[in-house]
């Protein structure tokens, strides 16, 4: 396992370099002169030249990249042009909110998706199975931001059961219950598409697994049906399920931006969109970098879970 881990970590290096090059280049090429944004239109030519030299913007691109990477490696993502604060602290603060939202959505979609998938696979073509197939088609076709608005109109504005937006109530809020109440609608919105994807995949792999010889053997041995389905079936069907859960984790992290916008959730997604509209390059770079890094780590975790589930992978 240790050798597998080392090899897997080594494979991360080119991906991380590639990610950093893309993040740097994309925003380096962005329209708008950061010096002009920082100094305003009234600044003199000499002021601009001095700031440009201070920021290293007069040097060749590869020198700027290496310098930027050096700063990033030391945890210095620069200062936000718009908020005039260090980017890293701001991004990490907002990233917590995104993690809470995406993590809850992942928990919801994984538990519901696997339960629904197993139930559909044990009773194929039942009413539940057909409902779940229809729901998955709907889930894949529905814009998450629209579903969010529909849920908000119904449960927050019409019925008044749940708060419409934000993470805590502005007055007297702040407790765990307050957070959960604010979390429910965005988490359901974000999880909706993933639930259906995980359910469909779980159903397909479970159907395949339940047709294997060892399942028949288990039944012949007299193992109770629940044990056959869960211990012999689900455990062996888990590898593809873990893959899709990993993919969904990334999707939830990136896709959270739309849900965050609908519900004014103070996450890294809303921060990034504000940064783009304010042309705040360092801020946007920081947001993209932090989310992309966390996505890379999620993928690493998924691979390690595979190796743990299936010893054959370790010795490939």
């Amino acid at each position: 396992m240790r050798r597998y881990l080392a090899r897997r970590l080594l494979l991360l290096v080119p991906v991380l370099v590639g990610v950093s090059v893309i993040v740097f280049m994309v925003l380096h090429l962005s329209p708008g002169d950061p010096v002009e944004i920082m100094l305003g239109a009234q600044a003199t030519q000499a002021d601009r030249a001095r700031l440009r030299a201070d920021l290293g913007l007069d040097q060749p691109v590869h020198v700027q990249y290496v310098r930027w990477l050096g700063h990033v490696a030391r945890g210095d993502l620069g200062r936000s042009l718009w908020m005039k604060r260090p980017v890293l602290a701001e991004v990490l603060l907002r990233f917590q909110a995104t993690l809470i939202l995406a993590g809850t959505a992942l928990l919801l979609s994984t538990t519901l998706g696997i339960a629904l998938g197993v139930a559909s696979a044990t009773r194929p073509n039942s009413l539940l199975d057909r409902l779940s197939a229809t729901a998955s088609l709907f889930g894949a076709s529905m814009p998450s931001f629209w579903l969010g608005i529909v849920l908000m109109v119904v449960f927050a504005l019409r019925l008044g059961w749940l708060p419409a937006s934000g993470m805590y109530a502005p007055y007297g809020g702040g407790g765990l219950l307050d957070l959960l109440a604010h979390l429910l609608l965005p988490a359901v919105t974000l999880a909706a598409a993933s639930v259906t994807i995980i359910a469909r995949l779980t159903r397909a792999t479970m159907l395949e697994t339940l047709g294997q010889d060892y399942i028949r053997t288990a039944r012949a041995k007299g193992v109770v049906e629940r044990g056959v389905v869960l211990r012999h079936g689900l455990k062996n069907a888990l590898i593809p399920i873990v893959t899709v859960v990993g993919v969904q984790a990334g999707y939830l992290l990136g896709g959270a931006v739309l849900t965050e916008t609908v519900f004014a959730w103070p996450g890294v997604g809303t921060l990034m969109v504000q940064g783009i509209l304010a042309r705040d390059v360092p801020l946007v770079q920081g947001c993209v970098l932090v989310v992309a890094l966390s996505f890379v780590l999620v993928n690493l975790a998924v691979d390690l879970v595979y190796a743990w589930l299936d010893p054959r992978i370790r010795y490939e």
């Binding site: 080119p14 590639g18 893309i22 739309l258």
Partner: protein
């Protein structure tokens, strides 16, 4: 039992593939009535979008502040009006032009780029394969929507740039798919036979490899157009896609959101339009997959 393509028949493979395709589609259409209905609905939406200038619609940009935020079924405005009193039906039909075109164009661009790179990466081992696959690995190391947003940040907000970003983010999906198919074809007997007969790379690719890519790529494309419509609408919803006064369904939803308490229809209708179109596309795509997938054909 399906007929196997023997090396001697390889030259006829292209033509045979095409007639197999048509027959499979006809069989699928007979079996799946719902998908045919979805396809008909889709066709109607495309026709309405294309023919919008000649349809008896109100001017989508005509402002009438006296009759703002009228509910659906108001006389003269079957779907009501928006915050400037503009006719929602006309705006939805004109918005369909932008949304549908954006979905088809971005999916097509991603497909062409992805297929070319996938064929290259699958057919040529060595540095070509390494470069292509590392590039797709890196692009896939980003969450999809995040990378699209980052690219728009670099290129600047606007529909054209949003479409470029979505196409770039989308091509690795096709590259992976196509490379897998090409890798398995590369070792097949009929490719070996063609090579033994002296065929060059261009002939092998054009005659013996590309025809086998048609079915999987058609299926992927038909499902992808819907996904691309969703992402484009999402970027417009965030204010990074179409810019006013042009409106697509995503930006209509975004502006309608501000009036959601008193006039929810302004936000809900564009979203419903996106939902129905993408639903129809997915139903047609699923049916195409069932009709063209050899595994379901055999049954």
């Amino acid at each position: 039992m399906s007929a196997r393509v023997e090396p001697a028949d390889a030259v006829a493979a292209g033509a045979a593939e095409r007639s197999v395709l048509v027959r499979a589609l006809a069989r699928g259409a007979r079996r799946n009535r719902v998908a045919v209905a979805a396809a008909a609905g889709l066709l109607a939406a495309v026709l309405a979008a294309v023919l919008a200038p000649w349809l008896p619609l109100l001017d989508p940009d005509a402002v009438d502040t006296v009759r703002r935020l009228q509910p659906p079924l108001t006389p003269g405005h079957p779907l009501g009006t928006d915050e400037f009193g503009r006719d929602l039906l006309a705006r939805l039909v004109w918005g369909a032009r932008v949304s549908l075109l954006a979905g088809v164009v971005t999916a097509a661009a991603a497909m062409v780029l992805g297929v070319v790179l996938g064929v290259l990466g699958g057919f040529y081992s060595g540095w070509v394969e390494t470069v292509v696959m590392r590039l797709t690995d890196i692009l896939m190391a980003f969450p999809y929507v995040l990378l699209a947003i980052a690219l728009v940040a670099g290129l600047g907000p606007g529909l054209r740039n949003a479409m470029i970003a979505i196409a770039i983010v989308g091509f690795p999906f096709y590259t992976r798919l196509v490379r897998g198919v090409v890798l398995s074809l590369r070792e097949r007997e009929f490719v070996e036979a063609a090579r033994a007969l002296g065929a060059g790379d261009a002939v092998i690719l054009g005659r013996h490899v590309l025809p086998h890519l048609v079915s999987p790529v058609i299926v992927a494309f038909s499902l992808d157009v819907g996904a691309k419509i969703l992402v484009t609408a999402g970027l417009s919803f965030l204010g990074l896609g179409t810019q006013p006064p042009t409106a697509d369904w995503g930006s209509m939803l975004a502006t309608g959101r501000q009036f959601v308490i008193l006039s929810p229809h302004v936000a809900l209708l564009p979203g419903l339009a996106i939902f129905l179109i993408v639903l129809a596309l997915n139903m047609v795509g699923d049916a195409l997959r069932d009709a063209l997938d050899p595994r379901t054909q055999a049954s």
